[in-house]
Amino acid sequence: MPFFSFDILARGRGYFLKDKSTTTLFLFLSLSLFLFLLPVKVKKSLSEAIFSFTYAPFYSVANQIGELYDVHQVNRALNEKVTRLTLENSRLQEKERENERFRQVLGFKSESSYQLIPAEAVAAEPERFPSLIWINLGEKDGIRKGMPVINTDGLIGRVSEVLMGSSVVQLLYHPNCRVAALDTRSRVQGIVKSKGGIMLNLDNVPTEEDVKVGDEIYTSGFSKIFPEGLKIGQVLKVSPDKDPVFKIIILKPAVDFSRLEELFVIKF
């Protein structure tokens, strides 16, 4: 009997459990359906109320963590930028020191027999190939009419007008500009002048003289205006057949006349 009753109890418990599962299922399905059938307005307010104490606190924490992460990211980006700018700044400072050193070297050139006065081009003729430019030095700076003007590439021209605080420089392109020149390879002499355009001509060179393409042309020093040894340009073309007496020699100027910034006036 005890065994029997125990068996019944066990069976009863089993059935109860089975019923419990089914009852639970139907209970919660009914509850779900009840929630589903509620008016949307009620659903929304109910959801909002429960959301405020279930998810909202965590979202608040998550937002704060997100903000901290954003701040960290911005901080990292700014640090990178600061490092990059610091490096760039030190590089520019080094360039500035180098520039200053070059200016000093060029401005007070001890090896040169001429005194170089640093100047800056401040204006030019409003033409495609300007033949006159203005520099920032004048009579008060010791500039005199006829002084040659050069830059690091070579001869630019000569001072044609001197005012108190500025001067006019006649470039090699100017129709009135003549420069006594020589071929450094063959020592052939001639006169450099412009015939319009961006190239120069080396005139008065007899047809039998030895001038070749690629020869470098420098000032000869035979005129009293330009000292010797200033680079004028390079022979670009030699045409001996067109003229029976003189060669037609075209030069490419050593100086880029479209980029005249730092110049030097030669005092000699």
């Binding site: 599962s21 639970t24 299922l25 779900s32 359906l33 589903f36 965590f58």
Partner: protein
């Protein structure tokens, strides 16, 4: 007394799992979503509860999880709870009726549970729009199911290692 302790432990365990669901939904779900393929951790936990505790616990836990997820979409409040209650019960009924010793079969239960959940939820929430259901199913549900099943298998693997260590010690 031992039964009461067991029940208390079960309740605490359930609360802990609910807390994980809430924490995951609010903090980590976006982090673990790859190209809109999300890890359905609530469903994974629901399957775990169903398979370990049976249909009644599965149904209750399904209702709670479904209700918590429905809070994101109040217009359909109750729909997710209804589906997950059924799902919890269904998975729970496998506890004693299906050979689940193999991890692969558990992975398959997770995968198909997710597909069933998504199919029914999107079917009703889209207003019985089958093309939309198939679009979601093909583009997201399949991959999410694989992703969740894979994570579930890894989770089970760690659980087994933990149990094996307990036994040896």
């Amino acid at each position: 007394m031992p039964i009461r302790n067991l029940n208390l432990s079960k309740a605490a365990n359930t609360l802990f799992l609910i807390l994980i669901v809430v924490l995951y939904q609010s903090l980590f779900s976006r982090l673990l979503t790859i190209h809109r393929i999300s890890l359905d951790l609530p469903l994974l936990i629901l399957v775990y509860v169903g398979l370990t505790r049976g249909p009644a616990s599965g149904a209750i836990f399904g209702f709670i999880v479904g209700f918590l997820l429905d809070l994101y979409n109040p217009s359909f409040l109750g729909l997710g709870a209804f589906i997950k209650t059924c799902l919890g019960y269904l998975v729970g009924s496998f506890k004693d009726n299906l050979y689940l010793e193999s991890n692969l079969s558990k992975g398959a239960v997770i995968f198909f549970s997710l597909l069933l959940n998504d199919l029914t939820y999107y079917f009703f929430s889209s207003g019985l729009n089958l093309s939309y259901v198939f679009f979601v199913f093909l583009n997201y549900s399949l991959l999410s199911g694989l992703y969740t099943a894979l994570v579930g298998l890894i989770f089970l693997w760690f659980l087994q290692i933990g149990k094996a260590n307990e036994i040896t010690t």
